[in-house]
């Protein structure tokens, strides 16, 4: 052909989108809400509404147009905003009850705006308290159960740890109770699926529930999250069984390169059509409940009988790194989380491994040391102690803090369910068996609270 695209290449691209679920998982419009700040709550609300509606009004329509023009599906359209605790701080009065109510009202306002512009989710309801908690952060945290439990599209996050500050264990202890309350406050605990706890979060993450528009970003930006576990699985499954692992990594890299390039094209076009800056492209293998679109299955294709068995951490390390390398070569705007996600309920292979007893919380935790996020979408018994929830969170934050990486936790204690039971949310959130946890308590460790000190960065052994 004159443009020198060979028949084989066309066929490969066709297979990626048609048969292997390659898609643009999310286009996310980041909106800076700082100009809306006011010490008058009603003024803040009015400005916020105006800002979101005016910035995002064309967003969904433009995304659809680009999807149609290029013939590559865009699955989700989202908005991220400046963290709510930062925006709300000036409008709080010091009256705890009244302020909490304002925080909930603000969440409802965001929910309404998200509905009006037609996005799937709006992220950023949270704040940062790696070292200490301001009054605003405390109030927003207290409001979470109602704010997320009673809204549809609003997603929340809190950053409780960083490599520079260590872990705020007082906040960790508190969040354990908040998550429990959030679960009780919503249908089948779904509110907890919309909330993420972070160590070292990134400000340009297009994925939910942990996305927010960071203070280091421009006014408005478009971030793109691409996906494609199905594509990578097919590539790995098609390789000879005795092919050395470095060659496997090479094949994954090439695939990641291709999907990143397509994603960047879509992101740049969308940003241009909205007249805003293109932020970053997040090259993450994010599983969906579609059969074959599973990170667990990729590891199995590398030669593991079932994900969770010995070798799973090594295989995931290879995968995460190869995806990052391919992505970085393809685009200089790679950001976000970039790597491989292991959300249990959303990944058919992982959920099956848990059901079969091959994958437990301990192995999952080990795998998060090399994946790009953390303990994600894990359903646990509804009667799990809040100190145990806090202790699981502390473990995962420690991994992030000590290894200078982002880690995240999305735990869902499902009321009335016991280990081995099953929960199904449907849609993108999928279904999962309830994960058994250690029965020994961590009470006194969590009750100490205080600050877990930041690590020394020399003597890294």
């Amino acid at each position: 052909m004159p443009q020198s695209i060979s028949l084989e290449e066309v066929y490969e691209t066709y297979r990626m989108t048609e048969k292997e679920h390659f898609d643009i998982r999310a286009v996310t419009l980041g909106i800076n809400l700082l100009p809306c700040v006011s010490d008058d709550f009603s003024v803040l609300c009015r400005r916020t509404e105006k800002k979101i509606l005016s910035t995002a009004r064309q967003f969904v329509k433009r995304a659809e147009k680009i999807q149609s023009y290029y013939g590559i599906p865009i699955i989700n359209r989202r908005i991220t905003v400046t963290p709510a605790a930062v925006v709300l701080a000036g409008a709080l009065t010091g009256d705890a009850g009244r302020d909490r109510e304002r925080c909930v009202l603000y969440a409802r306002l965001l929910d309404r705006c998200a509905g009006e512009v037609g996005v799937d989710f709006l992220g950023g309801y949270g704040g940062f308290c790696e070292k200490g908690m301001t009054y605003a952060e405390q109030t927003v945290m207290d409001a979470l159960p109602e704010a997320l439990g009673k809204t549809e599209k609003v997603c929340g996050f809190f950053s409780l740890a960083s490599s520079k500050a260590g872990i705020n264990m007082r906040a960790v202890a508190k969040i354990g109770a908040i998550i429990r309350e959030l679960a009780i406050n919503s249908d089948q605990a779904i509110g907890a699926a919309k909330f993420v706890v972070f160590a070292n979060p990134v400000s340009d993450n297009p994925f939910m529930a942990g996305g927010y528009h960071g203070l280091q970003e421009a006014d408005n930006i478009v971030n793109v999250g691409i996906s494609g576990p199905g594509v990578v699985r097919r590539v790995v499954a098609g390789l000879p069984r005795d092919l050395p692992l470095d060659a496997v990594a090479e094949a994954i890299k090439k695939t990641a390169f291709k999907i990143t390039r397509a994603g960047e094209l879509i992101g740049q076009e969308l940003a241009r059509s909205l007249g805003v800056r293109f932020g970053s492209i997040d090259v993450s293998l994010a599983p969906t409940t579609a059969v074959g679109d599973s990170v667990g299955r990729i590891l199995e294709a590398m030669g593991l009988e079932r994900v969770g068995t010995h070798g799973s951490t090594a295989a995931l390390a290879l995968l995460t790194d190869a995806v990052k390398k391919g992505g970085v070569m393809a685009s200089s705007r790679v950001g976000g989380l970039s790597g491989a996600f292991i959300p249990v309920s959303e990944d058919v292979g992982l959920a099956e491994a848990v059901r079969a007893g091959a994958l437990g919380i301990d192995k999952l935790e080990a795998m998060t040391t090399v994946c790009s996020v953390g303990l994600d979408m894990i359903a646990v018994p509804g009667d799990t102690k809040t100190t145990t929830l806090a202790a699981i969170i502390a473990d995962e934050l420690a991994i992030g803090v000590m290894n200078n990486k982002t880690t995240a936790i999305r735990l869902i204690p499902v009321p009335g369910k016991k280990a081995g039971d099953h929960v199904s949310w449907g849609g993108l959130l999928g279904s999962a068996p309830i994960m058994p946890l250690h029965q020994e308590n961590s009470d006194y460790f969590i009750w100490r609270k205080g600050q877990l000190p930041a690590p020394v960065t020399s003597f890294r052994n």
């Binding site: 443009q3 149609s68 390039r261």
Partner: protein, 95 residues
Amino acid sequence: MKKEGKDLAIVLVVGEDQTGIVAQVADFLWKENINIEDINQKIMQGVFVMTMLVDMAGARSDVGVVGPKLEKLGEKIGLSIQIQHHKIFEVMHRV
């Protein structure tokens, strides 16, 4: 989004070889006012694969509208027919 000059897309036809494939696809494209620039075909792993480089500049609608129509035509003649914008292939397969 419409560019000056050409607006290239690639039509892919996959399935069992039979008579009249080119004629039927070409007839459809002509009715949509889409110009065929080049045709390439091959048997890959026992499957008939054909690509058509087409110019959508004067087309009545874009890839997103033409796509489902082509799929329908494919179903009628027992083949899989897809269309995607040329730029996608360019960015994915060329450094």
